[in-house]
Subunit: 192 residues, 2 copies
DNA sequence: GTCTATAGAATGATAGAC
DNA sequence: GTCTATCATTCTATAGAC
């Protein structure tokens, strides 16, 4: 399980730090999440923490990548369309438990508009993978689509991101239920 | 046209400032839009500008309100559903011309999650009005809805906000065309 | 690898003169 | 109402010792 070669220990420690940082951000929120705060939480000095990540922006980008990994978002989606839908909805439902991560994600999504931002590539890649998964899932439904699959995928992604903004503003919004309703409607599309 | 009573001049000047600030933010972007930068652009000192708005957060909230006003978003939507749809799509199309405002909107949407933030009420109200308009428009279609109108309205709003994030990240994304496709699909819902 | 200390900068807000 | 000047924070990044 342990990695070989140079940096093996460094990599392991880095992962350990990320795991803890993830929990902190999830609970305490990104609000004013300075490098100092994260450093305290993981038991390092500010400089000690930056030693592993180089900059604040890279640190928070790494946190988002780690989150995707833990959410199994890097795995292939289930082959059955209903299972894929359920998995997607469950990830969204779980997001309700980690407001700080939703806030971090949404905030970086805006800041990463700058091509120079370390998270720029992350968001581009993540969006592409997500939409490809959605397109593949829709293809398995073999239903006459009212819209091009790529367009539908973009809309589903947009709905997921937009629901997060609504939920951050008003936590009574049920992101998962709303998304499930949308996906069910899409699956029945053209079959009233 | 001119207002009477106390503050009349102050209000007018405030509006004038907002109009210019709006143009600046629209073009130059919100990136690093400090109070100082806006102040320079409108021909005031930093302190002079804050005299009218009290704080940075209130200034930027006022800019968003002014934008809605200029976009006629405070007006009632056209009674014909197709006209309402077209008006909505046109606002979105226009947004492509003002990236800085889209960035400002998206950024404040996250920060306003905090109930103490001056823009919190703005986003709550704006969302409610928008969704009510969508619900009212959908009702005029008199079609059997696959989803509760409130849910659909939430999804349309979410899609609009989410598409902005995608577009900020990748300006080749066509927000207006995607939204139009969604709205057309909704209008045909249950009528393949 | 980790810490202490500090540089260095940016910015929002306020006091007070005019 | 507007400006100048200044305060007061906050935070990232780096240098250098251990």
């Amino acid at each position: 399980m342990s990695q070989r070669g140079p940096y093996a220990k460094g990599v392991a420690k880095r992962e350990e730090i990320l795991g803890r940082a993830l929990e902190i951000v999830a609970r305490q929120g990104y609000r004013g999440a300075s490098v100092q705060v994260i450093a305290d939480a993981v038991g390092l000095s500010q400089a000690g923490l930056l030693h592993y990540f180089g900059s604040k922006e890279e640190l928070f980008t790494a946190i988002l990548r780690k989150r995707d990994e833990l959410d199994h978002l890097s795995r292939a989606a289930p082959s059955d369309p209903r299972d894929a839908r359920d998995a997607f909805v469950q990830v969204i439902a779980h997001n309700s438990e980690v407001p700080g991560l939703v806030e971090l994600f949404s905030r970086l999504a805006v800041e990463a508009a700058d091509p120079e931002h370390p998270a720029h590539a992350y968001f581009l890649e993540r969006g592409e993978v997500l939409r490809e998964t959605i397109v593949a899932t829709l293809a398995q439904l073999r239903r006459p689509p009212a819209l091009p699959p790529e367009t539908l995928a973009r809309i589903v992604q947009a709905a997921a991101d937009g629901l997060q903004l609504q939920w951050l503003l008003d936590p009574t919004v049920d992101m998962a239920a709303t998304m499930e309703a949308l996906l069910n409607a899409l699956a029945q599309e053209g079959h009233p």
